[in-house]
């Protein structure tokens, strides 16, 4: 029994702890710093940056939130529902800095920016091949520019962060100037464009050279228009003519690329069966099925005809968005876009049912679920187009006319005519542009791009927002926007949570009027 002492001592020593006892080890998650160590995980890390475009909860992405913010509240369409619908505040211009979608979008885009910066800054030192470094680094630059471009147009000068946040010391960044944000966007896009693959990659929906140039065209046009029409302070630095000129030359490069061509059937651009077609330059990839219910969007919920019967198997949706008289009246006879975008029927499954006759029901019809689809509603499988060829053509026409004091130029006329010819029935020759050419281009953009999240930005950059919204004529929907809209609405408010939680931003830094 004497040995018990030694036995116990031995046990105590054996049980003595090892050095790593109090260290944490990652079992079921990753250390972000290690993700760039292999090409496959770097690729996954890049896909994570794209995923911010579509991820849940939908309020923060193009799944739903961005279909609401900066899309509702124009003269193209309005919501059918009451003010308490999720889009009510945007339809009616009653949102406050506390409205949650602003916060969700802001946080989501900044988390994409943070991850893009991690890739941009760290991939050069990673073990990947040069080709992968260039490709992923450029994709990350494209996405960072994309996120900042939405932020600067929605919120103005936002905190400009180009380093990954790795500690609590870097949590608070003040607002930068609009010029500084644009400078980064231009730098990222011009660096990325030449290094990106020319054509659609696998998986579809990733940055390409065409996407970078098309986005660059939009950036130039946007800064030039803000600089010229001055709806907001902060664009005084823009060399307007140079920016319009660059919009023309950059856009022309996209138009000249062999990868893009107009489709002969307007509706096919948006159909799931023909998604990622030659008119699409960049779109958010959405997916839905009876099994996968959280990878889709609310596009059909808003912008499809009504559905009769089981909505999950219907080609239609909840018909929340209703076209305005302004939009309906913009179309002429023979324009196939009218019959696609504005409809008077509902869907029962795949069958068209004439709309209820008791009310003058006019629905939007642009984004319809595929025939035979059976999936959870609110997770519609329709991609959200963000950049497409027709948009670039109209941007080049607009910039070209802007350089010609607003009058049509040969190139502008040629682009507009070729687009319109494609969009009209073969038996109908579209009328030549009449009246103010820039106004005509704007109407053409509505006809072509309505419900695609372009109209609000178009109206804002040219200073037309307030007049256009005040002139909204509703068909059947309701809105109080004409009474509510004010100058302050050229920008959305900085989200309340950002002001509360960012020590470098206080209430005096809020956008004017909020």
């Amino acid at each position: 029994m004497k040995n018990i002492k030694f036995l116990l001592l031995a046990i105590t020593i054996l049980l003595g702890s090892c050095n790593n006892f109090l260290e944490e080890e990652a079992y079921s998650f990753k250390n972000p710093a290690e993700l760039l160590q292999t090409e496959a995980s770097a690729e996954a890390y890049m896909i994570g940056v794209y995923d911010r475009l579509s991820n849940r909860p939908f309020g923060k992405s193009f799944g739903q939130g961005l279909l609401v913010v900066a899309n509702f509240g124009t003269d193209d369409f309005s919501g059918k529902g009451a003010a308490n619908q999720i889009y009510g505040d945007y339809m009616n211009y009653t949102f406050t800095p506390a409205e949650e979608r602003l916060d969700l979008i802001w946080n989501n885009f900044y988390s994409g920016i943070n991850q893009a910066s991690a890739i941009i800054n760290n991939i050069p030192a990673s073990p990947s091949s040069e080709a992968t470094k260039n490709k992923l680094g450029s994709e990350a630059k494209f996405m960072r520019a994309f996120y900042y471009f939405y932020l600067v147009r929605m919120f103005g000068g936002v905190p400009l962060i180009t380093e990954e946040t790795t500690s609590l010391d870097a949590l608070n960044t003040p607002r930068a100037s609009i010029e500084e944000v644009y400078t980064l966007i231009l730098k990222d896009l011009t660096e990325a464009a030449p290094l990106l693959p020319a054509v659609n990659q696998t998986p579809a929906g990733r940055a390409t050279k065409g996407a970078a140039l098309a986005l660059l065209t939009k950036v130039y046009l946007s800064m030039a228009a803000y600089g010229k029409y001055k709806p907001l302070a902060g664009y005084e630095w823009v060399n307007v003519n140079e920016a319009f000129t660059k919009a023309v030359t950059t856009g022309q490069q996209v138009i000249d690329m062999p990868d893009y061509a107009l489709l002969s059937n307007y509706g096919s651009i948006f159909e799931v069966a023909t998604e990622n077609n030659s008119e699409i330059i960049f779109s958010v990839q959405m997916h839905g099925s009876s099994q996968v219910s959280d990878e889709g969007s609310w596009l059909a919920n808003f912008f499809a005809p009504a559905s009769v019967g089981d909505i999950n198997v219907s080609r239609g949706g909840m018909n929340h968005a209703r076209p305005t008289r302004n939009l309906i009246n913009k179309y002429a006879t023979g324009d196939t876009r009218k019959t696609w975008n504005i409809v008077n029927f509902s869907y029962n499954g795949c069958t068209e049912v004439p709309g209820p006759t008791t009310l003058a029901q006019t629905f939007t019809g642009k984004f319809r679920k595929p025939c035979g689809y059976d999936g959870q509603h609110f997770s519609d499988p329709i991609n959200v187009p963000l950049l497409r060829l027709a948009d670039v053509m109209l941007m080049v026409a607009e910039a070209s006319a802007e350089l010609n004091d607003g009058a049509a130029t040969p190139i502008a006329l040629q682009l507009v005519t070729s687009l319109r010819t494609k969009r009209y029935l073969a038996t109908v020759v579209p009328a030549a542009p009449t009246g103010n050419f820039l106004d005509f281009i704007f109407d053409e953009r509505s006809r072509e791009l309505c419900y695609e999240g372009q109209r609000w930005f178009d109206l804002a950059r040219t200073g037309r927002l307030i007049n256009a919204v005040k002139a909204t004529q509703l068909a059947t929907a309701t809105t109080t926007a004409p009474a509510n809209i004010q100058t302050k609405h050229y920008l959305y408010p900085i989200p309340l949570n950002e002001i509360l939680n960012n020590a470098a931003i206080d209430f005096t830094d809020q956008n004017p009027g909020y």
Binding site: L8, E24, R52, N114, Q115, P159, S167, L168, H287
Partner: protein, 1015 residues
């Protein structure tokens, strides 16, 4: 045996041990020959035999009696009488890493003994604690058998780290969330499982609650919410004994909420939805009434009487060298809702043996298998409403099969729902430890303990394709499992020495504990054949959510404690613990928790003695730091997770950064002050204890919001502080004490005030979540109690006189909310964007509308005994807490849901304008938390009445039975409250919603009959 002893020269002594006073034989008295390892034990007649030599000293010890030493003379036969130890202050109290006599206790410790636990019909020990301990508030999220409990020791201390106390079962600290199965989302989440439900309350010897720093600081980083020490029974009474107890009973629930009958319901729907052709003739627009005789009260259909049974069989043997206790238990408790029940099979082995007089080995092992069968309750999860909601909201007639009304596609008969959905939780837990005690030196004892627990839990749920809301997924099954392995090693050295007036005990130790949890889950849909549900997941065509997770944390600790007693009058305790946790970085891994306490036996001082009032008076003072580290592992790390990304219909996996590292993250620390006084009067017939405390918790662990531009929305940080302060009173009295009749009363009274002192840079944090809504009814804000209820102030209803003649435009000066109309909810305009009332009710007008924390609470137990018959009654109360009766928001006009009858009678209509009850049309007002839903949750409950009859010895002696009693018990007998929900003690199943009642599972009344036999 590795050794034996020399028996030569020994004489055999025989004797008998009797109780002083009544001269009854004492069974199981331990007898030791001093200075040797030789011993014996008395048999059922109190007789013993032992080998010894003349001049040896025999030491007699027996629980509850004063130990005695007797020198052996020449006679071979001796009779010894032991005096009963009447001083309650001398009971042994279990404290962290040791025991102490209550007289020597310096800290604040509340105790419940087995006798107080066993006669109640509770499924788990927590239920049995309700109202019995001072400073301990027990609330449950529902009356479902085996449901989770929230135990709060001296108020809530923490925002996001847990406020649950640390449980220590037979020396093994248990994480209170151990049986939580990670499932990655709906609909398996089942956070309400009681982690200790595997434990049979019959096997608990005592429960001690360590409340102040002096008592709890020895548990350092985990003691801040108090520590509950549970000690299971050992075979220390009697020799070779068999105990058997059987209890059987019935539970029922007779409370009913009066809902509309079929006739009135059809009238209501006719008025509300005139387009529905089932209730309104499309051509004449006349009401199509439904006969009242078709009414089905779903409460009658689903709340059923149910039975319970509990058996416990115990074997114990106690020899001079070894103690053994083995127990088997079985419990089957039905739920009052169809298809719900709880079952437990458990067994326990506690064994101690002395290998030599200096070396002993102790084994304690408990195993329990629990099965909880039920459904989705409350607001449900994943499938819309759960049973407790449907039972009230469903239309009051039977439509035969599921869907009969195309305009109300969500409708589903609650009875069918109960048949077509299920939720199971099964769990196997084993907790074992083995300790070696070795007396190195006469003053030093070394104890090495190795042990831990293993839990394997499995959750499954299934929703049949027939259930409307998931029809599109054609059957939905979820299953998840978690395996937890938690091991512990403790090495402690105890010192014990008395010299003269000085008594010194000390403890130093080193402990390490590691917890690893591995879990997986999957969710499957689309079952062409759904006969087997979640038991045959291969029948599903699609597995659409799945994942696995492994996590680990570890603690490495050093501890020390010194107790110094002088002249048995002054006691000083100093303790210290250094804890290293894997959850924090570098220098923050270690934190230090010192505490000190002082006790003074004032009663022994002449100036008190001279008063001739008190039998004993003790003053206790303590101060110390205790910590809390109950945050998930990896909270301080930078992490990235996996996301699904689809292009076309092809899935790609991407990685996203989810959190930023916080290298400064550290422990939550509570600074605790306690002052207590213990008095005994009237020959110890009145014992009175008062404790006052202040607990300042700082560096609150909070997943605090940060600037979104950083790329993150929240980061775990140490922000803010909370203060709890309170008073606890305990009064135990022996009111009548005659030969045959005794009347005892125990009362505890508790008062706690909680205040948020700061929450960093934040002004408010909204914590409450109501399932399936964006509503956040609870707020944490500086100056208010934690979890305050938040909303508008109800100001009656809009009347036609508030409007211009067009009936829609408000007159100037009338506050507007939403789109007001006559009969709509009207709220007070208290502020606006400019900080002053602006005529519009919006977010600026929300404010604290209720405090879910009671002003005081407590319990009173009275026991009357006459000979073998005893009657005890237990009353508990709570006063001054507010409840947000959110169930009413659904029962007052949510779409096709049925209405409360009294609401329908009283609500505003054009014909009934003299009322403050809004019309159902105003959904915005109805769905806004406001004082309209705030109700007083005060109650007085006759919680238990127990009648026990101990059969007289004369009757059972012939049958060779040692003891028999028969117990009749009634639980939850009567409730006095103004609260209009089912039960003010039940709040939402979601612990984030403190004080929110949203269709809780009601608590039944239970009548039981039991028998306890000892052979």
């Amino acid at each position: 045996m590795l050794f034996c002893w020399d028996a030569f020269g020994q004489t055999i002594y025989t004797g008998k041990v009797l109780s002083q006073g009544n001269n009854e034989a004492l069974i199981g008295v331990t007898i030791l020959v001093k200075g040797t390892s030789r011993g014996s034990i008395t048999d059922t007649n109190g007789n013993f035999t032992i080998e010894a030599t003349s001049g040896d000293v025999l030491a007699f010890s027996y629980l509850g009696f004063i130990s005695k030493e007797v020198s052996l003379g020449p006679q071979n036969t001796i009779t010894v009488t032991l005096a009963e130890d009447t001083k309650s202050l001398d009971e042994v109290v279990v404290i962290g890493y040791g025991t102490v006599n209550r007289r020597d206790l310096t800290g604040s410790v509340a105790t419940v003994k087995a006798e107080q636990l066993k006669d109640a019909s509770s499924v788990s020990f927590g239920d049995a604690l309700r109202g019995k301990l001072s400073g301990v508030q027990v609330t449950s999220s529902g009356g479902e058998p085996g449901a989770g409990l929230d135990i709060r020791v001296r108020g809530m201390n923490s925002i996001s780290a847990s406020s649950n106390p640390l449980y220590v079962v037979d020396g093994v600290p248990i994480e209170s969330n151990q049986s939580e199965v990670k499932t990655g989302g709906m609909p398996l989440d089942n956070p309400n499982v009681n982690p200790l439900s595997y434990l049979d309350p019959n096997n608990i010897a005592s429960i001690e609650v360590l409340k102040d720093a002096s008592a709890a600081a020895i548990y350092g980083s985990r003691g801040a919410n108090g520590v509950i020490l549970i000690t299971t029974k050992s075979g220390d009474v009697g020799k070779a004994q068999v105990t058997f107890s059987a209890t059987t009973g019935v539970s029922f629930f007779n409370n009913r909420v009066e809902m509309l009958d079929a006739n009135t319901y059809s009238e209501y729907i006719h008025l509300r939805y005139p387009e529905n052709p089932l209730y309104t003739d499309p051509t004449t627009l006349e009401w199509i009434p439904m006969e009242a005789s078709r009414t089905v009260n779903w409460q009658d259909e689903l709340y059923k009487n149910t039975g319970m049974q509990n058996y416990n069989l115990g074997f114990s043997n106690n020899t001079d060298k070894s103690k053994l206790f083995v127990s088997l238990g079985y419990n089957n408790t039905g739920g009052i809702i169809k298809n719900s029940n709880f079952k437990r099979v458990s067994f326990l082995i506690n064994a101690t043996t002395k290998l030599t007089d200096k070396f002993s080995v102790d084994l304690r092992s408990t195993t329990g298998y629990t099965s909880r069968v039920g459904q989705f309750y409350g607001a449900g999860q994943g499938s819309g409403a759960g049973i407790t909601m449907r039972v009230l909201t469903s239309k009051p007639f039977d439509t035969g099969d599921g869907i009969a009304d195309p305009n109300d596609a969500d409708y589903f008969s609650p009875l069918r729902f109960a048949e077509l959905s299920e939720k199971l939780n099964r769990s196997l837990t084993n907790l074992t430890n083995i300790s070696f005690n070795y007396q190195i030196h006469q003053d030093f004892t070394l104890k090495i303990l190795g042990g831990g627990y293993i839990t394997n839990a499995k959750n499954t749920s299934f929703l049949s394709s027939a259930i409307t809301n998931v029809a599109n997924s054609n059957g939905l099954a979820a299953l998840g499992s978690a395996l937890t392995f938690n091991w512990l090693n403790e090495n402690t050295l105890n010192y014990n020495k008395t010299f003269g007036d000085h008594k010194l005990t000390g403890l130093v130790g080193f402990t390490q504990q590691q917890n690893t949890t591995e879990s997986y889950f999957l969710q499957a849909t689309n079952f062409p054949i759904e006969i087997n549900g979640a038991d045959a997941i291969q029948d599903a065509l699609n597995i659409n959510e799945y994942g696995s997770e492994k996590e680990r944390w570890a603690l490495l600790s050093y501890l020390a404690r010194v107790n110094y007693g002088f002249k048995d009058k002054y006691q000083l305790t100093l303790s210290f613990r250094a804890d290293g946790s894997s959850k924090f970085y570098g220098n923050n891994k270690y934190s230090y928790f010192p505490a000190g306490a002082f006790a003074w036996q004032l009663g022994d001082e002449e100036f008190i003695k001279n008063l001739n009032i008190f039998d004993a008076v003790k003053l206790r003072l303590s101060y110390g730091l205790i910590g809390n580290q109950s945050i998930p592992p990896y909270s301080a790390l930078s992490t990235a997770g996996t996301i699904n990304y689809f292009s076309g219909s092809t899935q790609y996996n991407g990685a996203v950064t989810q959190s930023v590292a916080n290298k400064d993250l550290t422990w939550e620390t509570s600074e605790t002050y306690n002052a207590g006084l213990d008095f005994s009067f009237v020959r110890n017939r009145i014992n009175f204890t008062v404790d006052a405390y202040i607990k300042n918790t700082k560096d609150l662990l909070l997943n605090a919001p940060v600037a979104g531009s950083s790329g993150f929305s929240t980061v775990f940080q140490n922000v803010g502080s909370i203060r709890n302060k309170g008073i606890e009173l305990v009064l135990n009295t022996v009111n009548i004490d005659t030969k045959n009749f005794e009347w005892n009363t125990n009362i505890n009274f508790n008062l706690n005030r909680n205040e948020v002192i700061s929450i960093g840079t934040q002004e408010q944090i909204f914590t409450g979540v109501i399932v399936n809504t964006p509503i956040t009814p609870n707020v944490i804000q500086v100056g208010s109690p934690l979890g305050s209820l938040y909303g508008y102030i109800f100001d009656g209803v809009y009347q036609p006189t508030d409007f211009e003649t067009n009936g829609t435009t408000l007159k100037s000066g009338v506050v507007s909310f939403g789109t007001p109309r006559p009969g709509y909810y009207k709220f007070k305009d208290i502020s606006g964007a400019e900080g002053s009332p602006d005529g519009v009710v919006n977010d600026y007008d929300r404010t604290v509308i209720g405090n879910p924390n009671p002003k005081h609470f407590g319990g009173m137990n009275n026991t009357f005994s006459y000979k073998g018959l005893s009657l005890s009654t237990f009353i508990s109360w709570q006063y001054g807490n507010d409840i947000l009766n959110w169930s009413n928001s659904v029962l007052q006009g949510s779409s096709y849901n049925n209405l409360k009858a009294d609401y329908y009678r009283n609500m505003w209509t054009t014909n009934n304008q003299e009322t403050n009850v809004p019309n159902y049309v105003d959904a915005t007002g109805r769905n806004s938390p406001s004082t309209y839903y705030i109700q007083d949750g005060s109650f007085l409950r006759l919680q238990n009445v127990t009648l026990k009859y101990i059969l007289p010895k004369s009757l059972i002696k012939t049958a060779k039975i040692g003891y028999v009693d028969i117990v009749l018990s009634a639980d939850n007998v009567a409730l006095l409250t103004n609260y209009d929900g089912y039960d003010p003690e039940l709040t939402s199943p979601d612990p984030r919603n403190i004080g929110v009642d949203y269709f809780s599972y009601p608590r039944p009344k239970t009548y039981t009959m039991g028998i306890n036999v000892r052979f």
